[in-house]
């Protein structure tokens, strides 16, 4: 067992009580928490560019379902409790890794059928049954995956029976074996080796086991320990967002340390030099990433030269990069809300950066750009929400041509997706106001559907050809106004089209008129038109937002 006196005391305390159903509940909770703490790390281990790839998230959702099943249960019997856990995991299984995880739990539950408390022999039997059940689920098991880690863990537990009858000791050995097994996965599966990562599902299983041990040892579960990432998991693109004032240069150094690397000392020393420190490990060498001020530009290189051999160094001027990408309507700086697992997330299609911003300010979790002449594909819509850490998704297509693609996206995913068929931007915004992220999914969807009819939508655009619809005659390039998608008038100027539209919409019976100005209308013109609308409708509140949408001079919400 561990030699740390603090941990020994904790283990002693744990051993005083029998490991019954209530203790299992705590262990499951610890697994879930520890897995969630390391969720992003597991996610970053993906090698296949398939939408099924969010292993960390999938495993968290599966474990969450398992825990939810037992969270309020007063059951004392370990076997009965573990059956509930398995049942929850089965119902909540997401993705490949989630399905395998649920099979492991199913096997474990079968082994412990009506066991009152857990002891070492039953733990070994449980892991063996879990392994057997998991392996039965596939004709050609691929080694170097979560299956291999489960197999190695089970084998270690069986061997440990000869030397111990302590559950804690056995779990310690199992966790160590899982760790070793995860590290070996690249040797078994070439695609992992090529990508420079270990298997994500195996890593997830390791965290589940380690979470239980950390709980027993009284160690914290909510702070990630990983200081070294696999090389492929270093995401240097995102570090640009983290630039602090004074950190003008980005330095990336590949080096081989002469002796082993003491990460604590290494990090302490580097923190004296710069910020945004990341360390990646691959095939015998390390890659260091750091942001430094100009006067310390060469210090990271000199430091690494002292502790090893530098094989490559690259320096980039961040200020120049920032200037290049700083301005402009970059979508990456949209203030999108962060979704917590289990919350409802909304994905909105927005035709312009300004409208995207308005949606973001109302709490949208992801934006897909697209509109009248640039319909996003089903795949783009799926990609927007696949990565969100929740399975309750609402899509606002905000254009009648995109409703179909959104519905197709809803059918092609295992997530629980509802399309609120907003046909215009104002309808989408109106629906957005009803969002309560923690609310009950179906009732929120219903609320949002009802909100669609509570706003009138006006659109000012130009005709692309000569046409006569609903008695309105239009020539090519003439300014036209649409009310709720129907052509209502043609006008010589944008201003006249706006005023004519508001009249047709009986805007004097409403309270608020919001104008979203298009990309091709000058600021001066927007002010002039807004002023003339204000004088025509003194009773109404007139708001102007920069929408930046193409083709539409104005999109108008009347509510």
């Amino acid at each position: 067992m561990s030699s740390d006196p603090q941990i020994l005391i904790q283990q002693e305390l744990f051993q005083q009580k029998p490991i019954d159903g209530q203790v299992l509940k705590k262990l499951i909770e610890a697994s879930l928490t520890w897995l969630r703490t390391n969720q992003e790390l597991v996610n970053s281990l993906n090698v296949f560019p398939v939408p099924d790839g969010d292993t960390g998230t999938n495993m968290v959702l599966t474990m969450q379902a398992a825990y939810d099943e037992v969270a309020n249960s007063p059951e004392k019997n370990f076997g009965k409790m573990v059956h509930s856990v398995a049942n929850g995991a089965l119902m909540g299984a997401r993705g490949n890794s989630g399905v395998i995880l649920s099979q492991l739990w199913r096997g474990i539950a079968r082994a412990l059928d009506s066991q009152e408390v857990l002891d070492a022999p039953s733990l070994a039997r449980a892991l063996a049954y879990g392994r057997d059940t998991a392996y039965k689920g596939v004709v050609r098991p691929v080694e170097g995956t979560i299956l291999t880690v489960a197999k190695d863990a089970a084998k270690t537990a069986e061997l440990a029976l000869d030397e111990t009858d302590s559950v804690i000791k056995m779990l310690e050995l199992v966790v160590d074996a899982a760790d070793e097994s995860v590290k070996r996965t690249p040797d078994l599966l070439p695609v992992l080796k090529d990508a420079g990562v270990v298997d994500s599902g195996g890593m997830g299983l390791y965290y589940i086991l380690e979470g239980m041990l950390r709980h027993i040892n009284g160690l914290p579960l909510d702070t990630s320990l990983s200081v070294v990432k696999p090389l492929a998991a270093m995401n240097l693109d995102t570090t640009l967002e983290l630039i602090e004032p004074g950190q003008d240069f980005e330095v990336v150094i590949d080096f081989r340390p002469n002796d082993g690397l003491d990460f604590n000392i290494f990090y302490d020393d580097l923190e004296q030099i710069g910020t945004s420190i990341q360390l990646g490990e691959g095939d015998g060498f390390y890659r260091l990433h750091i942001h430094v001020p100009t006067e310390k530009l060469y210090e990271p290189i000199e430091y690494t030269r002292k502790i090893g051999v530098v094989t490559k160094a690259a320096i980039e001027n961040l200020l120049a990069q920032l200037e290049a990408m700083g301005r402009g309507n970059d979508e990456s700086d949209l203030p999108l809300v962060t979704v917590e697992p289990g919350q409802i997330a909304v994905v909105a299609v927005a035709p312009g950066i300004g409208i995207a911003r308005v949606f973001a300010s109302l709490g949208v979790a992801a934006i897909v750009s697209g509109g009248q002449t640039m319909n996003p594909s089903t795949q783009e819509i799926i990609q927007a929400f696949e990565d969100l850490p929740t399975d309750k998704i609402i899509i606002l297509p905000n254009n009648k041509n995109i409703v179909m693609a959104a519905k197709a996206a809803a059918e092609l995913t295992v997530k629980n997706v509802a399309v609120v068929p907003s046909k215009t931007v104002p309808q989408g915004l109106s629906a957005m106001l009803r969002l309560i992220p923690e609310g009950e999914f179906n009732s929120i969807v219903e609320e949002m559907n009802q909100a669609l009819d509570e706003v009138e939508t006006g659109e000012i655009t130009y005709a692309t050809r000569d046409v006569e619809i609903d008695g309105v005659k239009v020539q090519e390039d003439q300014i036209i106004a649409l009310l709720n998608g129907k052509l209502v008038l043609a006008a010589p100027t944008i201003e006249k089209a706006c005023l004519g539209l508001l009249e047709k919409a009986h805007a004097d019976h409403f309270e608020i008129i919001t104008l979203f100005s298009g990309a091709d209308v000058t600021a001066k013109e927007v002010i002039r038109i807004a002023d003339s609308i204000r004088s025509a409708y003194p009773e109404q509140e007139i708001e102007v937002q920069e929408g930046n949408q193409p083709h539409y001079h104005f999109i108008i919400a009347i509510e």
Partner: protein, 118 residues
């Protein structure tokens, strides 16, 4: 069928070749324990046959490549998640090998194999 014209001649990939790729990818997917004939009248649902196109239908109409899989799934797994996963795996492997997009992968769960009762 799926042909490509190069200056040196044309490349043709037969449906049978594509079936083989899909077949192997499907059998490596977790939860799939076998492929089976789509037509029950053809006989009893056989698991684990050696013909590498058994249980896979490939249809190419000159524009879209569609794949139908007739699978047996392990009892006790979440079938929806298994089906989504096999669909992704087959699509990924076929697209990677062929370099052309797959329009549809339809997964037909023809039966369940019960290894052990709970």
């Amino acid at each position: 069928m799926t042909d490509e014209i190069t200056p040196l001649g044309s490349i043709q990939v037969s449906p049978k070749a594509i079936s083989s790729i899909a077949y192997h990818a499907a059998l490596q997917s977790y939860g799939v324990v076998g492929l089976t004939s789509k037509n029950i009248v053809d006989g009893l649902a056989q698991v684990l046959v050696k013909d590498p196109t058994y249980g896979v239908d490939v249809d190419y109409d000159g524009e879209n490549l569609n794949i139908d899989l007739y699978v047996i799934v392990e009892y006790g797994t979440r079938i929806k998640a298994v089906a989504a996963s096999v669909s992704n795996t087959v699509r990924y492997n076929v697209e990677k090998a062929l370099g052309m997009p797959v329009h549809e992968v339809n997964v037909h769960v023809q039966g369940l194999r019960i290894s052990n009762f709970d």
